[in-house]
């Protein structure tokens, strides 16, 4: 119950995203940039080094491999730059992990209706003489309305999820979930995800907000003219109010006696973004202009399958903060816990051995709070007689013959009928989720009566109190369940995991390797600077250092190969639905309309979704095919065609050319030419 109520206030929110900026990819970009600097500094050092060693070799003698390397580094930087320029809004509809939308309940609470052994509902029918008899035939609504038939409710009455629903009495809540019956997993359908997608465009308050930077006194006074990022002037400025776009003060007209000519550099930012808001152009969310979207929905009719696909999907998109498992419980853990919740240890008291003691395998359930679970273990040494101390008055006759009454304690459990025990329980989900073991609640033995769900892993036994259908029978025919009272739930220490653990490859994991890699290269170059000498010890040090770099590079390549193995796998299409809305001229409203009208997705029970929206900018993106970054995203996600799509649609082959040049240089003429170089020429090349 708790997990559902926690979701009632949840809301999916728009967030900004850049592929290359999100989380750890930003570090990657910085690292690649450092490499380019390193490579360039090796080139510039080459000339400095040659002066030091008084060599006449010119720049043309510099190893051509370094030039090729620089070209490739530039290619990487260009690629990162392209991705950095591609910014999106994204909306994550998450019914299961953090829970920003509320799954719809498919059940009502109602009085428990008895079921036979097969799980069929029991109905009481009135015969001609006014006597009632039980049948499992479903009555007509007319018979129920005329009081000729009624549900046979459990006695005493018990309110349960999926109980008798007087407004819809004829359908069994436990019918197959394919026919609309209840499910033990929180259901959120594909239609509901799409509804959330479109709803998010309607939130009037979800607009970008910019807050004043610094003190009010330091900002331009109210009604002074301020400027947007493009230099357009605005009136209505008030430093005490948040506005929906980035604003600037013109800055000083002159500085240090000279006129400021570069106003972009000279201007002063007045505010900073505190909320991205829904997709907008310069703060206008009701814009009419180019915008496009990619909607991705992960969905399945089977919760286990859903988890499997969703886990793979989240690994693939671990640059989106919600899918990163850097802190706390990760998404897979959260979903797995829905299927296999952690065991709990419960201290039971007053286990009445008259109705037998609990044993491993018994399913027990709380009478009031509907906790449910199977006993997995009875903790050794925990079974002890319950201490039940009573007070009674004892009359004593004193020496004078007076009877004096005194109160004394006595053992109410002398024959040890009641015992305490600690049991380890594997919790079982109820229709309303996992319910807690509350101190004082009576727990009784449960038995299976029917099932809920549809097929396979989705089918769960329906548990009812054992003998619950015999409480109205004569005493000798009644079946009494084993019974106890919950004393307390004990904190459980989680078991140590046994490798290999389930877990995902994370984009952030690339970063430590990158950092070390580039740092090492930087240090290498810096050390060279101060070590120019021709002593044998210097040469030996140089060789040792190069060996270290070689070993590290080998290690780096191995790591990259591991990551490549993962990212070369495409996510299987089963369970992943995508809708690509290319750049269109009608702004958010156009996307909303197209999202609502798109067809071709089945209404499956378990779904979550991710919606990317990109708005048209001034500049052409990447290969120059579009001004909307969403089209670049569609390309890199493989949504445009079935073939392997290049990241750079312009077809810039600098990197390939460079690589080819390197191969040629190593294998061919350059390598041979090396042999013919003089020692001094080699020195120049070798150092840098």
């Amino acid at each position: 119950m708790a997990e559902f109520s926690a979701l009632l206030t949840a809301k999916a929110e728009w967030k900004p995203h850049q592929i290359a900026k999100a989380g750890d990819i930003a570090s990657l970009a910085a690292a690649a940039s450092a490499l380019a600097d390193t490579v360039k500094s090796t080139l510039s050092l080459a000339s400095a080094g040659m002066e030091v060693v008084k060599l006449l070799a010119t720049l043309q003698n510099i190893n051509p491999l370094l030039i090729a390397l620089e070209a490739l580094a530039d290619e990487v930087l260009k690629q990162i730059q392209d991705l950095k320029e591609a910014g999106y809004w994204y909306l994550y509809v998450d019914p299961y992990y953090e829970g920003n939308v509320s799954p719809t309940q498919k059940y009502n609470y109602g009085f428990e209706q008895l079921r036979n052994q097969a799980g069929d509902l029991i109905w009481s029918y009135k015969d001609g003489s006014g006597n009632w008899s039980d049948k499992t035939d479903t009555p007509t609504l007319a018979k129920i309305n005329s009081d000729d038939a009624k549900p046979h409710l459990a006695s005493p009455r018990k309110l349960i999820p999926g109980g008798y629903d007087s407004s819809n009495p004829l359908v069994d809540p436990l019918r197959s979930s394919d026919d609309g019956g209840v499910s033990k997993f929180p259901t959120f359908t594909t239609k509901e995800v799409i509804k959330e997608f479109t709803k998010a465009f309607d939130d009037e308050g979800d607009v970008p907000r910019y807050k004043l930077v610094g003190e009010v006194s330091a900002a331009p006074k109210a009604e002074e003219i301020v400027y947007d990022v493009d230099g357009n002037a605005y009136t209505g400025w008030n430093p005490k109010i948040d506005f929906g776009l980035e604003l600037f003060d013109l800055g000083k007209a002159s500085e240090d006696g000279s006129t400021v000519k570069n106003y972009v550099a000279g201007r002063k930012a007045l505010n900073t973004k505190v909320a991205p808001g829904k997709p907008n152009i310069l703060g206008n969310t009701e814009f009419v202009g180019g915008s496009g979207a990619i909607a991705i929905i992960i969905a399945s009719g089977n919760f286990n399958e859903f988890i499997d696909v969703f886990n793979k999907f989240s690994q693939m998109f671990s640059d989106i903060p919600e899918f990163s498992s850097s802190t706390g419980k990760n998404l897979l853990d959260a979903l797995t816990e829905i299927i296999t919740p952690n065991d709990v240890t419960v201290k039971l008291t007053q286990v009445d051995t008259k109705f037998q003691s609990f044993i491993v395998g018994d399913v027990i359930g709380g009478q009031k709070y509907l906790s449910l679970g199977k006993i997995k273990e009875i903790v050794e040494g925990s079974v002890v007689p319950t201490t039940m101390v009573g007070r009674k008055a004892v009359g004593k006759t004193d020496d004078e013959g007076n009877i004096v009454s005194t109160m004394t304690d006595y053992n109410m459990n002398e024959v040890e009928r009641w015992v305490d025990m600690e049991v380890v329980i594997s919790p079982i989900r109820n229709l309303d989720g996992l319910n807690p073991w509350i101190t004082g609640d009576m727990v009784v033995e449960m038995e299976e009566r029917g099932t809920s769900g549809s097929t396979g892993d989705d089918v769960f036994p329906n548990y009812v109190v054992k003998g619950g259908d015999t409480t109205e029978l004569p005493k000798e025919l009644r079946i009494y369940p084993k019974v106890a009272i919950v004393a307390m739930e004990k904190l459980m220490i989680l078991p140590e995991s046994t490798p290999p653990d389930f877990g995902g490859i994370q984009i952030k994991d690339i970063v430590p390797g990158w950092g070390e890699f580039f740092q090492l290269l930087e240090n290498f170059v810096l050390q060279l600077k101060g070590m120019i000498s021709d002593s044998a010890s210097f040469v030996q040090d140089m060789i040792d250092m190069i060996k270290q770099v070689e070993a590290f590079l080998e290690y780096m390549i191995k790591i990259i190969d591991e990551f490549l193995k993962f990212f070369q796998i495409t996510l299987p299409s089963q369970g992943v639905y995508a809708l690509y809305i290319p750049n269109q001229p009608d702004g958010n409203e156009g996307i909303k309309t197209q999202l609502s009208s798109a067809t071709g997705i089945p209404d499956l029970g378990y779904a979550a979704g991710l919606l990317f929206v990109g708005t048209e900018g001034d500049k052409l993106i990447a290969g120059g095919g579009s001004k909307n970054p969403i089209d670049l995203l569609a390309l890199v996600l493989g949504l445009l065609d079935d073939e392997e799509a290049p990241v750079n649609p312009a077809g810039n082959s600098t990197a390939e050319d460079a690589a080819a040049a390197v191969g040629k240089a190593l294998a061919g003429t350059d390598k041979d030419a090396w042999k013919d170089k003089s020692t001094s020429e080699k020195m120049a090349s070798l150092l840098f």
Binding site: A536, I543, I560, D561, Y577, G638, T679, S685, L686
Partner: protein, 61 residues
């Protein structure tokens, strides 16, 4: 837009952006590695030559 385009489709998603970035990085590391190898071999030759020269000088001296 044609109505056909406005349909949900089962999609085989890829991350070509990350893949390409990793491939280029691997290529960079590989190239640097090759450069290092050439440099190391050359320094080793220099060292050999130095040792040989030193031995010769010692022998002559």
């Amino acid at each position: 837009m044609a109505e056909e385009e406005n349909n949900w489709k089962e999609a085989e998603l890829r991350r070509d952006d990350i893949k390409k970035l990793l491939e280029n990085t691997k290529k960079l590391a590989g190239m640097y590695s090759e450069i290092m190898e050439v440099k190391r071999q050359s320094w080793e030759n220099v060292l050999k030559a130095k040792i040989k020269k030193a031995k010769k000088e010692k022998h002559n001296g």
